[in-house]
Subunit: 248 residues, 2 copies
DNA sequence: GAAATATGTTGGTATATACCAGTGGACAAT
DNA sequence: ATTGTCCACTGGTATATACCAACATATTTC
């Protein structure tokens, strides 16, 4: 075997070096929240690499949660993470209001719907039961955070859709229908966002996000509301306070 | 302006069509769990596209949670998701054992460590306090699921590292040190896995995963264990049962 | 039979190029 | 002041090519 192979084993890939450089810029504070990051072509020229390599570096920033892109506008520095305490069982809207966060809620869709097998099981109703369904987009400072679709039993909350739904649902149901959230089941998973969701969240398709499914029950233990949320995964985290049950 | 532009507006990108076709194969059941997916070159030839396009389709399957890749071996069909109930406060190991899942635990690292600012705050000890730290890799059926690094106060659990740590920590601490987990704080977020983590999990770098941080307290409310887990995001989901506190 | 070697496959990285489709600003026409 | 057109810029998609490193499996050598 010839031993003249003198490859200097320069291990770290070039896109990684660029990624590190850009990350330093962000963590140093040279680039602040929502600041515009250099474009793919800009990075390519600045570091003397091809556009594909520049893109890989920028995409690495995205999966790291340090950057996000909005459509064809460009890439931006991610804001610090929001923490949503799921064990408090108050809606994100009510919590944000209490913390002085300027939360905007946009109605996307609202209307009647009938329960399919999954919804019927989760809400303990018959398949075909009439439900109210409504989808809302939640934003902070003009930036989309998550989309929520909620399903409630129509017979229990007549004329719900005639209220202004751009507020906390739990608040609405407690004020007008005397129904209080008492217990809930939450499921969190990571998944790719659909094309529609991506559009609403201002993301490109095939981005990973966090899905949060919620079943909310009243004091009698009867489920009355199902909520499906899809969050931009880079800019949220979910905390819960748990406790071992006295009995087992 | 010339009006002879007759581009037929064939909207769906080619990689999306390939993605859809492959997804159908999986959801139909033609491809079962852990089955080998066609390679990038294979897909490229079969559908008459370039390798980069084939790769995009396969990567879309990954962010959708339908496929995973292990190093340079190839891509495989993801198994159905595991559900981990974080509000039960029993370790995943104990829960898996109870459910008859063949969980394998590999020791990665174990040794003494001193508390940095973050650990000291979370464990309510002084900075520099002696801790036991150990890292374990959890597998099911030979497939890596998550990595956990735990930190416990050394003074409280002398000689802990001399036990076989390839079992449930909560069980170990309750049997040998009479310490019971009572309450806990859990935080879940999505983030990119590091190079080391990727290697242990058999993933490529810059894959997104789910991080789970846990603070476990005893019946007196004193924290005694910190756990950091990083999960392969496509194959797990986390559920919690929450309850509105009587007082507010 | 066991150990070393070769071969082919797979993803990983990288370049160079091309055209398309939204976005937003500059600027002209109204 | 408003409207509209144009253009530069952005990411999105796609092709073609090249070499490397890890891996699996034969094949050869001992």
């Amino acid at each position: 075997m010839p031993d003249d192979s003198a490859t200097p084993t320069e291990d770290p890939p070039r896109f990684r070096l660029i990624f590190d450089a850009l990350r330093r810029e962000i963590t140093n504070g040279n680039l602040v929240e929502h600041a515009v990051l250099p474009s793919e072509r800009g990075v390519a020229e600045e570091y003397g690499v091809s556009r594909m390599t520049a893109r890989r570096a920028l995409e690495a920033l995205e999966t790291e949660g340090l950057a996000y892109r909005e459509g064809r506008k460009g890439r931006f520095v991610s804001p610090r993470r929001l923490t949503y305490d799921i064990s408090q069982m108050v809606s994100f809207a009510a919590d944000a209001k209490a913390r002085g966060i300027n939360l905007q809620i946009e109605m996307i869709d609202a209307g009647p719907q009938t329960a399919d097998a999954k919804l019927a099981r989760e809400l303990s109703v018959q398949i075909g039961e009439h439900l109210h369904a409504f989808t809302r987009l939640f934003k902070i400072g003009g930036h989309a955070i998550f989309i929520e679709t909620e399903f409630v039993i129509a017979a229990r909350f007549p004329d719900l859709l005639r209220y202004d739904l751009r507020q906390s649902t739990t608040l609405l149901l407690s004020q007008h229908y005397n129904t209080l959230a008492h217990t809930g089941d939450v499921t969190i998973r990571m998944r790719g966002v659909s094309a529609i969701e991506a559009k609403l969240l201002g993301l490109s398709a095939n981005t990973a996000g966090i899905e949060l499914e919620q079943v909310i029950r009243d004091t009698a233990g009867a489920p009355f509301c199902i909520g499906h949320q899809i969050w931009r995964g880079e800019l949220a985290e979910f905390s819960a306070r748990t406790m071992v049950k006295p009995e087992s």
